[in-house]
């Protein structure tokens, strides 16, 4: 039916999200840097001074967890609300609906690139060098983006029918802050829970990043396999469910 230019449409929608967000902020892109820095400082204060722990270079350790987590939480949250937010457009323009949540998720990526830059600057500042395993980074980040796209397709579509979905996503994000090893070491997690942790793509990404950036080693193949499987399975589930649910969008929006 709609046989337009997908990449042009996607790039316009991403630019729209991006421009609208940053035009309404006087500090603009600076917020992307300030936000993780403030959280990093607070967590470092709590976990080095109040609860001292043996982890070395804690600020960069915690940043390895914060950057993937905050991207995940932001992208998933905004993706979930995207169909409702663009309901005017969806009810009046016959554009393929999948594009809307995906563009919203991808709209967070510039934000992410800036934060990854910040993370790498900290890694270098704390005396870790560049190594060949850095080449794994685009792969693991791509997996997280694929994972969030899948999740956003599912929850944005469900959100059209059950508007509480937004709050459920918020709650899951709050729980996830504790269930992803952001401010604690994965080694502290009891053996019987570790398998489960590795199937959470956000946790898997944090582990992979720490291996690459702080331990100078390649992420273990088993971890990468789980990350890839979980991400693509989520995307597939998202595409299928979205295709089923989109038929009723007009009636429910």
């Amino acid at each position: 039916m709609w046989n337009g230019d997908y990449t042009f449409l996607l790039s316009n929608l991403i630019q729209k999200d991006f421009k609208v967000r940053y035009r309404n902020m006087s500090l603009g892109v600076l917020w992307s840097l300030l936000n993780p820095l403030v959280t990093m400082t607070a967590l470092t204060f709590v976990f080095t001074i109040i609860f001292p722990n043996p982890t070395r270079s804690f600020p960069v350790f915690v940043l390895c967890g914060l950057v993937p987590y905050s991207f995940f939480a932001m992208a998933w949250g905004s993706g979930t609300g995207s169909l409702i937010e663009n309901s005017g457009m969806i009810k009046r323009v016959p554009v393929p609906r999948e594009v809307v949540p995906i563009a919203t998720v991808l709209g967070n990526c510039l934000h992410l690139v800036i934060q990854i830059g910040l993370l790498l600057a900290f890694v270098l500042a704390f005396g870790h060098g560049v190594n060949r395993y850095w080449l794994w980074m685009p792969v693991v980040w791509a997996m997280e983006i694929i994972f969030v796209c899948g999740l956003a397709l599912i929850t944005s579509a469900v959100n059209v029918y059950v508007r509480d979905m937004r709050y459920i996503v918020e709650s899951i994000n709050t729980v996830l802050f504790w269930m992803v090893p952001i401010f604690y070491d994965f080694d502290r997690v009891p053996q019987r829970f570790r398998e489960l942790y590795e199937f959470n793509p956000v946790a898997a990404l944090v582990l992979a990043l720490r291996d690459i950036l702080l331990k100078d080693m390649a992420p273990p193949p088993a971890l990468l396999v789980k990350l890839t499987l979980a991400s693509f399975a989520t995307l597939l589930a998202g595409v299928l469910l979205f295709r089923k649910l989109k038929k009723g969008f007009y009636d429910y929006l």
């Binding site: 309404n24 005017g88 554009v95 029918y161 509480d164 929006l253």
Partner: protein, 242 residues
């Protein structure tokens, strides 16, 4: 061959308007009768529109005009019956739909063109011509929220007409344009008709229907009450209400 074909099409909506919270879904499960919550926006409508024909749609508020246009535009699926639409559709259903108030006119122009299916290259080529047609060049770098409704119409119509659709759908929006711009749109639509394209047009203004349309249908509570030459249908329509 007909470009638009409706075969006993019905469209149902729920009275609740759809939007529901978890609680409502749970309550729905436990309730026994649900039939009374449904109403028909369109009921058993059959029609055909041929190539280079222009069909005017008239009727009171809530008669199903917008639902009809939405079905042709492919925004929703019929509850019953079947619809065939052949060719590229551009729909101007609501003023500024798909526009974002914080983006400039130029940014919205590109966004809207891509929403209507124009490629990047075609948009770049048509950009100047779209701006010229809209006659709002001096404001094209201002955010849309500063625009009047007439200016938004100018931009929206200019983009839609440059998409070069096979079927153009216009829902009432022309009313907010000033007389000169309306006349300009009118000329453009005539050219469009002469090029063998199809027009679907909703208006409360009888003159526009009379001038633009070859045929008209009168929708009343979701049913086609009358179809025929615009003059006859308009006269019948004006009779009982006026």
């Amino acid at each position: 061959m007909a470009v638009i074909e409706f075969e006993s099409v019905s469209k149902r909506f729920m009275h609740s308007g759809g939007a529901k919270l978890l609680r409502a879904h749970v309550e729905e499960r436990f309730r026994r009768q649900r039939q009374h919550e449904v109403f028909y926006a369109l009921k058993d409508v059959s029609l055909e529109v041929g190539r280079s024909e222009s069909l005017g749609v008239i009727g009171g508020n809530g008669a199903g005009k917008s639902t009809l246009l939405s079905l042709v535009a492919g925004l929703c699926a019929p509850s019953e019956g079947s619809i065939t639409v052949r060719g590229r559709v551009a729909a101007l259903l609501e003023l500024g739909s798909g526009f974002h108030p914080d983006l400039t006119g130029a940014e919205n122009l590109r966004l809207n063109a891509s929403l209507l299916g124009l490629s990047r290259r075609r948009t770049d080529e048509a950009f100047e011509s779209i701006v010229d047609f809209s006659e709002i060049r001096n404001f094209i770098q201002d955010p849309i929220r500063t625009y009047s409704s007439g200016m938004i119409l100018r931009l929206g119509f200019s983009v839609a007409i440059h998409v070069d659709p096979d079927i153009l759908i216009i829902d009432e929006v022309l009313a907010v344009g000033d007389q000169r711009f309306q006349a300009k749109c009118f000329d453009r639509i005539l050219q469009f008709k002469q090029a063998g394209k199809t027009l679907l047009f909703v208006s409360h203004g009888p003159e526009l229907i009379r001038k633009l349309c070859d045929r008209a249908i009168w929708l009343d509570h979701g049913k086609v009450r009358m179809a025929g030459p615009p003059d006859q249908v308009l006269e019948a329509y004006a009779g009982p209400t006026g």
